[in-house]
């Protein structure tokens, strides 16, 4: 495990940024939860508030993916190699997604 200032700074920066951006999905989830429990099921307002789970997923997955780079960097100490591996993971994921949706 290698600890240096720029790694520490990156971890703190990602944590801060994600906490800040996360206010939007958290707000959405609370409103969604209230709708689920209190609005009339199937009514127009209920259905309108049910959407938006995608945003929460995107937020969590993005933070998770960025954190893999930091985890890699922390153990190897080599940011460029970590970025390269992350790029490869992303490429593989996109490849799988593309072949599945039949876009290729």
């Amino acid at each position: 495990m290698i600890l240096n200032a720029s790694l520490l700074f990156s971890v703190v920066a990602l944590f801060g940024l994600s906490t800040y951006v996360g206010l939007i999905p958290v707000h959405r989830m609370i409103r969604r939860r209230e709708a689920q429990h209190e609005l009339r099921a199937g009514s127009a307002s209920y259905l309108r508030r049910m959407g938006g789970v995608v945003f929460v997923m995107i937020w969590v997955v993005t933070v998770l993916c960025l954190s893999t780079i930091l985890g890699d960097w922390a153990v190897t100490g080599d940011l460029n190699a970590a970025l390269e591996r992350a790029g490869m993971r992303t490429a593989v994921m996109l490849e799988i997604a593309a072949s599945n949706t039949g876009m290729r």
Binding site: S18, T19, L23, V26, E38, A44, L70, A82, S99, N100
Partner: protein
């Protein structure tokens, strides 16, 4: 209006009467005598009226009230019957001015208040207490709010919809995701669909608190039921009512189609519908509204006058939401970093 006012005078002492939600009757403010409003033919209030698109609107107009309170803020017009309890607009709490009343459409029926003001206020406070991520001093602000009883105008619509639809959905087989097309026909019967009959009644009032509408609770329109409350009268023609509620009906039809298709990721829905058998009622429904202001922003909590169901608007505490967000972030980052560390070798 004169006849209506005199009907609210106590025959025994001449005092003013108001409708008591607890007694379900007119009650004299001075001597406390109670007068029953029930009549043997009350069940007629359940009747619905057929609407013919090709016949011009012939609904009976109501006699204009002597005066109407018009809100200078939102433009809402309400009539206070009997002892007026509030000088403010029930919808937005804005200042009201007296204007000459204009005749609207006759209200066919209403559901009288069953929940009284102190209980409604208690329910509004309980609702706030049950929220997560609210500012700590909010309960105190809400405690100072005043509840106003309002008979809000609603439609009930029945209709038969012969829908023909086209839609796409997604299949996942042999590791392949495919988008497929489908189409079909579907009959939807809307029965007593509640629709706001005024732009001031938000769908949130209806979907938040008026869950279980039962036509058996309807009573004929009588001044006695309105005594002590504000009421907004019906001003929409049936055509206006139908078109104002088009978007809500569209949402509901699309949801029916989704259920009918019953596949993964249904999207790109298009449909045509042939609407027949429209029946309607113009009714008033009892709503308690509590207004409060937090950091110069106005909020409302609404409580059903029928069964006390509560819903509302509230501010969020950014500090508390940030704690939530930080917790989720911490989890995601921990998992991500562990996965990243593993992937490095």
């Amino acid at each position: 209006m004169y006849a209506e006012q005199s009907a609210l005078q106590c025959p025994s002492c001449g005092g003013m009467c108001y409708f008591s939600p607890v007694a379900q009757a007119l009650e004299c403010l001075s001597c406390g005598k109670v007068y029953n409003l029930d009549q043997p033919d009350d069940y007629l209030a359940r009747d619905e009226f057929a609407h013919n698109k090709n016949v011009p609107d012939a609904d009976p107009k109501s006699a204009p009230p002597q005066q109407t309170h018009q809100c200078r803020n939102c433009g809402g017009e309400v009539v206070f019957t009997g002892p007026a309890l509030s000088e403010n607009c029930p919808y937005c709490n804005g200042p009201v001015v007296l204007v000459p009343g204009d005749s609207g459409y006759k209200t066919m029926a209403l559901i009288p208040f069953r929940v009284d003001a102190p209980f409604a206020k208690r329910l509004a406070q309980d609702w706030i207490d049950a929220r997560i991520c609210v500012p700590a001093d909010l309960a105190l602000t809400v405690e100072q709010g005043v509840v106003v009883g309002l008979y809000a105008p609603f439609w009930t619509f029945d209709s038969d919809e012969a829908v023909h639809y086209w839609a796409n959905y997604v299949t996942y087989r042999n590791n392949k995701i495919r988008t497929r097309k489908t189409e079909g026909a579907l009959d939807i019967m809307f029965d007593d669909l509640l629709m706001p009959a005024s732009p001031h009644v938000t769908p949130l009032i209806r979907d938040g608190i008026l869950h279980d509408f039962d036509p058996a609770d309807l009573r004929p329109y009588r001044a006695g039921y309105l005594a002590g409350f504000a009421a907004e009268m019906h001003h929409q023609s049936v055509m206006e009512g139908l078109s104002a509620n088009e978007t809500d009906k569209d949402t509901l039809i699309r949801n029916h189609i989704k259920d009918e298709v019953n596949k993964t990721a249904v999207h790109g829905i298009r449909y045509l519908t042939d609407t027949t058998g429209i029946h309607y009622r113009r009714i008033l429904l009892p709503v308690w509204i509590l207004h409060y202001t937090y950091r110069a922003h106005a909020y409302r909590i609404v409580v059903s006058g029928i069964d006390g169901r509560t819903f509302g608007e509230r501010p969020f505490s950014y500090r508390k939401m940030a704690l939530f967000s930080a917790a989720v972030t911490a989890c995601a980052m921990t998992v991500g970093m562990l996965l990243g560390a593993q992937a490095a070798f």
